[in-house]
């Protein structure tokens, strides 16, 4: 009985050391030093260095009300009510460029990347999310306040949904046969439609808007008009 207990304890310690080691290795891989930056910053560094195609607007925001103001979106923590993220807002001209680039990308993507390759991309994407679910979960908690005991589950569920959708797609987009008639072969072919715009707001008024006028004046106000 004593030996069994001892063995269990030893195993527990070894597992703990392995987990700690894996954790540290993982952290070192993600940043230059063992002392890590906050997660989101670290990921963004990786994001910027790994590829350039993602659109990150930095331009001065032009509004019809006052074109001289830069718009910065500030995310307020639900846990502390302190600012936790800031992002520059996109200007209409940047969005137009973004849409043109998306059209060009769509034409190539839909013609040259096969369904099997697209499924593979989605599956690898799901694997990537799942591998980082703990860190990504903590980010959800930071931005939304949902307890950390639940948030990695959302990431894992998302990965599972992505795989599920990949498993369905062949059946869903296969040709639908038409009414048989001698001398004809009839079918309905399903094709992609192009560029899809996906809009996600949250409820009105959760967010402070800070605007900086050219004279350096900082204006802070609440959103009241964004679509919710």
């Amino acid at each position: 009985m004593f030996n069994v207990d001892l063995n269990i304890r030893s195993c527990t310690y070894i597992i703990f050391i392995i987990i700690l080691y894996m954790y540290l290795i993982n952290e070192w891989k993600l940043c230059d030093k063992a002392i890590c930056l906050p997660l989101t910053v670290r990921y963004r560094q990786e994001l910027l260095s790994s590829h350039q195609p993602i659109y990150i607007p930095t331009a001065i925001y032009e509004t019809t009300e006052n074109p001289n103001m830069a718009e910065v979106l500030t995310t307020i923590s639900p846990i502390t009510n302190a600012p936790i993220h800031q992002r520059d807002a996109a200007s209409p001209s940047h969005l137009a460029a973004c849409a043109s680039a998306a059209q060009a990308a769509f034409r190539t993507f839909s013609r040259t990347v096969t369904l099997a390759q697209r499924k593979e991309i989605v599956t690898k994407f799901a694997d990537g999310l799942e591998a980082h679910k703990e860190a990504l979960g903590r980010e959800i908690t930071e931005q939304m306040g949902r307890p950390v005991r639940y948030t990695p589950v959302e990431v894992a569920t998302g990965a599972r949904r992505a795989r599920y959708l990949a498993s369905l797609v062949d059946k869903v987009i296969e040709d639908t046969p038409g009414e048989p008639e001698e001398g004809f072969r009839r079918f309905v072919k399903k094709e992609p439609i192009g560029v899809v715009l996906v809009l996600f707001p949250w409820n009105v008024g959760f967010q402070r808007r800070t605007r900086t006028a050219l004279d350096g004046t900082l204006i802070v106000d609440l959103w009241t008009s964004i679509p919710t």
Partner: protein
């Protein structure tokens, strides 16, 4: 509403990419880093340049400029009814598909034949998980009069054991709501209900009385004696509030459930599967559950049977089927009560 940022992003983006489309995303300003992570992992997985892009904005005028652009071929919006109508108006000037996922005021009906403790645990979880901030959260509860007192006692008993607090603490079950303004709106619903005769029957709970002062915490609140004159029953409260009304029979329950202009989901709690399925057919909601409610929490998707013309992920299939217009299919999910109690806690929806 973007209360589950990974799930909602994946529901929209993955079908579009699988079917060969390009995607531009404007995320919620509350969770700006999530789309950055999603894009990062897609490009790491080999997605070609510019197939997935995103931008940050809080300006309706700027967003509308993109909605009006002929370079956009389809628009998906997730948010409130007012926001969805705004998107639809902007898109109405040209021929373009619009998909809207809007709010709910979802009802639960507890029939007399349920295990009250189990039903109380499930209904509370459905109502206050994620601090009640889910479009599919239970917003109002109707209980048959013959089990009403027992159900309220069970709810009080379960709520007494809940833990509200720092969301980074592994023990915490309920964190803050998203903003000060959201907190004020939720508390206004409670005050309106109490002013009109509702009773706050929330049990004593040390964590409810010692919530962290800096955050936007709202204690889980049990309201009884509620009526449809109160905002808490007519509008989407989007907070950890459990308003419970007594009904005399199935007919009254169905009438009250259908007395709403929102019909996202609803749930019936009963051991009589045939009766529950019959009642599900009378409820005017897009998705009706029997013995479960929907939320991305550690609740199983095993042991239930889905009946109906739609699919598990309706909005996703929309995407897979060329982002076409969705019909008015009704979705019914049924879970056996006995089997449900054996669900592994780590199973995911």
């Amino acid at each position: 509403m973007d209360q589950y940022p990974y799930l909602t992003l994946i529901n929209s983006i993955v079908p579009a990419i699988l079917t060969g489309n390009a995607v531009i995303v404007k995320p919620s300003p509350q969770t700006p880093a999530i789309i950055e992570q999603v894009a990062h992992h897609f490009y790491q997985a080999g997605l070609p340049t510019n197939v997935l892009q995103y931008f940050h904005s809080g300006s309706p005028a700027t967003i509308e400029s993109l909605i009006r652009s002929p370079a956009i071929n389809h628009i998906c919006f997730t948010g409130s009814v007012a926001g969805g109508l705004g998107v639809q108006r902007a898109a109405a000037e040209r021929v373009v598909g619009v998909g809207l996922e809007l709010g709910g005021n979802d009802a639960a009906y507890v029939r007399p034949d349920v295990d009250l403790r189990w039903a109380a645990e499930e209904v509370i979880d459905g109502a206050i998980f994620n601090s009640g901030q889910s479009c599919c959260a239970i917003e109002r509860v109707y209980v048959h009069e013959s089990v009403y007192d027992g159900f309220i006692a069970a709810v009080r008993d379960v709520l007494a054991g809940y833990i509200v607090g720092d969301p980074f603490d592994e023990k915490t079950q309920i964190g803050p709501v998203i903003s000060k303004r959201a907190r004020e709106a939720i508390l206004a619903h409670v005050q309106d209900a109490v002013a009109k005769g509702a009773r706050d029957e929330t049990p004593a709970n040390a964590t409810f009385e010692n919530m962290p002062p800096a955050g936007n915490f709202v204690k889980p609140t049990l309201l009884t004696g509620v009526t449809h004159d109160m905002a808490v029953m007519r509008e989407e409260t989007f907070g950890p509030i459990i308003p419970v009304a007594k009904v005399k029979d199935d007919e009254e329950a169905i009438r009250l459930i259908n007395d709403s202009d929102l019909g996202l989901t609803a749930s019936v709690w009963s051991k009589d599967m045939a009766k529950a399925e019959e009642l599900a057919g009378e409820i005017e909601a897009g998705t009706v559950f029997v013995n479960r409610s929907d939320f991305p929490a550690p609740v199983g998707m095993l042991k239930k049977v889905r009946v109906g013309a739609n699919n598990e992920l309706g909005s996703c299939m929309d995407g897979l089927e060329k982002f076409g217009a969705r019909g008015y299919a009704v979705e019914v999910w049924i879970r056996s009560v006995h089997e449900a109690q054996e669900l592994p806690s780590e199973e995911l929806p």
